[in-house]
Amino acid sequence: MELKAKGRHCALHRGTKETTRENKTRKEGGIMLRQILDGFLGIVADPYRSVAEAKARYRKKVIGCCPMNIPEEFIHAAGMLPVVMWRSNEPITSAHAHMQPTSCGIARSIVDDALKGRLDFMDGMVFYELCLQMRGLPLIIESTVTPAYLKFLHLPAKPTPAGKAHLMENLGMFRTSLEEFSGRDITPQSLAESIRVYNRNRGLLRRLYELRRKNPGLLGVREVVAIVQSSMLMLKEEHSELLEKLVWELERAAPASNKRVRVILSGCFCQAPRDDVLDMIEDAGAVVVDDDLFTGFRYFANDAKVNGDPLEALADRFLLKSPPDPTKLDPYRDWPGFLKEVVGRSGAQGVIHLLMKHCPPNQTHYPDLRRGLEAVGIPEMFLQLEHEAVSLVSMGTRIRAFIEVVGGV
């Protein structure tokens, strides 16, 4: 993974007219801000090392969760460290003995990492039927690396009485299996407490996004993605502590006079977008003001209820229909309508859709999404990304052209 972006387009590097004392305070705050940001960037730059270190530091078992919607609170309540599995930047080799190159990058990457022993520090893995590709992973993982704990969940995202009842039944079985593995009971109280911990983190991330909307350019897009993705890799309490400090500093940051073209990023399920693509978007003169990415708004959009049955609260959270999710059972989802709201709240001038190759949920819904945005007059372009190298030159040209058109050049 590429190392830290030094706040390429963010407000830290702008000068302001201030008193010496204010300037000193600001500089100290700026240094702390930079340290926190660099910390987050460092976590995502080498997640293998970061998570293994966290495991040693906290002496907790690590459970890798396949993206996107596994209720991590259960694992947290069992006293273990849930981490959302990531896509590596390494070429995929060993995985191709077990799956087609036409499978999506993150599915192949997880298998490749597992086969090469790069995930040996994980004590367990949890998968669910997000899509056909994730469905295939448990068989491959079980027959090759066989972690001590391997669970393939059936989580019907069907908000009918039958669907919710079955979802709760399966979450109950998940809870029991975690108790057996961890040797620790997951009581309603401990689960409720984990929900509160996660809600706190989600609330801070929503506040961060609010600040960015009001002050475009406050942070570079790569930094924002790193802040969210690092939450998926760290103990939530630790991440929230740092994030709270970051938010505090950002609330005092000078307003930006940002004349860049405001865009939102959409799509890119399951994995973080490539850093080089994010850099190209900003280099072309855009500022990212919002998103519905998985390593973005999707991850923290909704809280779980803190009153009542915590298992039911997590089931209800799983069944929520917003942000619209093509991997869930919802024939009436309105993805264009949702993006229209995001555009409205952020003042964005256009949408850049990051479409992962070999991702059927994204690919099959994209044409309708494009037509829906066209119908309401929202400029849109898509970039097809894949694990392997893409032609950045032609992609860069298209991005620049889009930004120029949207920006009225």
Binding site: F152, A162, P367
Partner: protein, 421 residues
């Protein structure tokens, strides 16, 4: 050098006329004032058929269009609408069909069908339910999405866990699918009719299993592709008297062949497992490529998985039976889990197989996932080799005949060398 010939089953040919009539009836359904249901999730299609509602089952439509090579304008229309070429060809076919129909643009007459008045889609393949959603957005008719999945269930799962999943599926059928069908049909659901149809489907499936048992003989009286063609009575005409009559004849012909020692391929030499779809568009082509080697495909989860273990069907409990068949037997055959592996390992022994041809469709992750591991396991457990072969039942871009020939040459050379020891 021994010459090998293909002996086609006469009764397989009888099905062509029935299949043509089936699609003609679907084409004319709206003209006749009938309401049409588009369904995904065999054996669930019987739910609508029991109420005399014409049923469009999208894999059978795709097979029909693919076999008659009518797919080109439909796939082109889907591409023009923005669907990527590596999206499931069944999805592209149907989106293209609806697009051309709604715009009044030319469609090959045999490929025309009535658009749905109700969609009942099954999320056993996530692309199936995606197709249902795409169709619903284009046609704007009611839709029921059934969550059909054996995810997480394995050979080690206790029966109680299987039972919970079956109960969940049965509940969805009862609470969601039945009311939607009743509303469309304008009358209460006819459970007695459903039970009768299920009873006939059971009899057909038992006869089909008896034919499979006959295929353990050397030479085998019929090939897996004959079984594939004979899926029509098990899918499109499931539960009908015609299906029973047809299978009585099919089984009789197979039994007669066994008595006379007549094989589907003269001088049968290599007995094979064929994974993935029956290659509808290329059935003749592929058999013409395999037969010269004396090779015959005998086992494969796609044809065999339909109505597997029919002894478990209870016609007097139709909804539960449909749920049980779906979750316990049909879907695990196509899931990349240990059941898939065990099915194949079992069939290798049952049918005395010499090798595996794992046909795959690059955009079809339903069937692709796990095939490499099955090949590895077959080599490990039984010492038999396998090859992977790209074949799409509909889209020609995923078939390369020269590449297939090269692979077959190498494969059968290897099998011959192993036979000689």
């Amino acid at each position: 050098m021994e010459e090998h010939k293909l002996n086609r089953m006469k009764t397989a040919g009888l099905m062509h006329g029935m299949v043509d009539k089936y699609w003609e009836d679907l084409r004319l359904a709206h003209d006749r004032g009938q309401k049409v249901v588009w369904m995904q999730g065999m054996p669930m299609t019987m739910l609508a058929a029991a109420m005399d509602l014409p049923v469009h089952f999208h894999p059978t439509y795709s097979a029909y269009v693919g076999a008659r090579r009518l797919q080109a304008p439909l796939l082109e229309a889907a591409a023009a609408g923005g669907l990527f070429p590596d999206v499931c060809s069944y999805i592209r076919l149907h989106v293209g069909l609806i697009s051309l129909t709604q715009k009044g643009l030319p469609i090959p007459e045999e490929a025309r069908v009535s658009l749905p008045d109700l969609i009942i889609t099954g999320r056993f393949c996530t692309e199936h339910s995606t197709l249902g959603e795409l169709v619903q957005r284009m046609v704007k008719c009611p839709i029921v999405v059934l969550d059909l999945s054996p995810a997480g269930l394995t050979t080690k799962s206790p029966e109680s866990e299987w039972e919970k999943r079956v109960t969940y599926v049965e509940r969805q059928i009862r609470e969601e699918a039945i009311p939607a069908i009743e509303k469309l049909a304008g009358r209460p659901y006819d459970y007695d009719r459903l039970s009768e149809m299920l009873d006939r489907a059971k009899r057909v499936a038992i006869m089909r299993d008896q034919v499979l048992h006959l295929m353990e003989n050397r030479p085998s009286p019929c090939s897996l592709f004959d079984i594939g063609v004979s899926l029509a009575p098990l899918t499109m005409f499931q539960g009908s008297e015609e299906a029973v009559d047809l299978f009585v004849k099919f089984k009789a012909e197979a039994e007669e062949r066994v008595r006379q020692g007549v094989g589907a391929v003269t001088g049968e030499k290599y007995r094979l497992y064929w994974d993935g779809y029956t290659p509808w568009r290329l059935l003749g082509t592929i058999m013409r490529m395999l037969v010269p080697y004396g090779a015959i495909p005998l086992a494969g989860r796609y044809p065999i998985g339909h109505w597997y273990h029919p002894e478990s069907i209870e016609p007097e409990r139709p909804l539960r039976s449909l749920a049980y068949q779906t979750i316990r037997w049909w879907l695990p055959s196509m899931f990349p889990g240990d059941l898939f592996v065990e099915y194949v390992m079992d069939w290798i022994q049952t049918f005395s197989l010499d090798g595996l041809i794992m046909s795959f469709v690059p955009p079809c992750r339903l069937w692709n996932m796990g095939i490499e591991d099955v090949v590895l396991e077959a080599e490990k457990r039984h010492g038999i080799p396998g090859i992977l072969l790209s074949v799409d039942p509909v889209d020609p871009q995923y078939w390369n005949e020269a590449d297939a020939k090269r692979k077959f040459d190498a494969f059968f050379e290897m099998l011959e060398a192993r036979k000689r020891g």
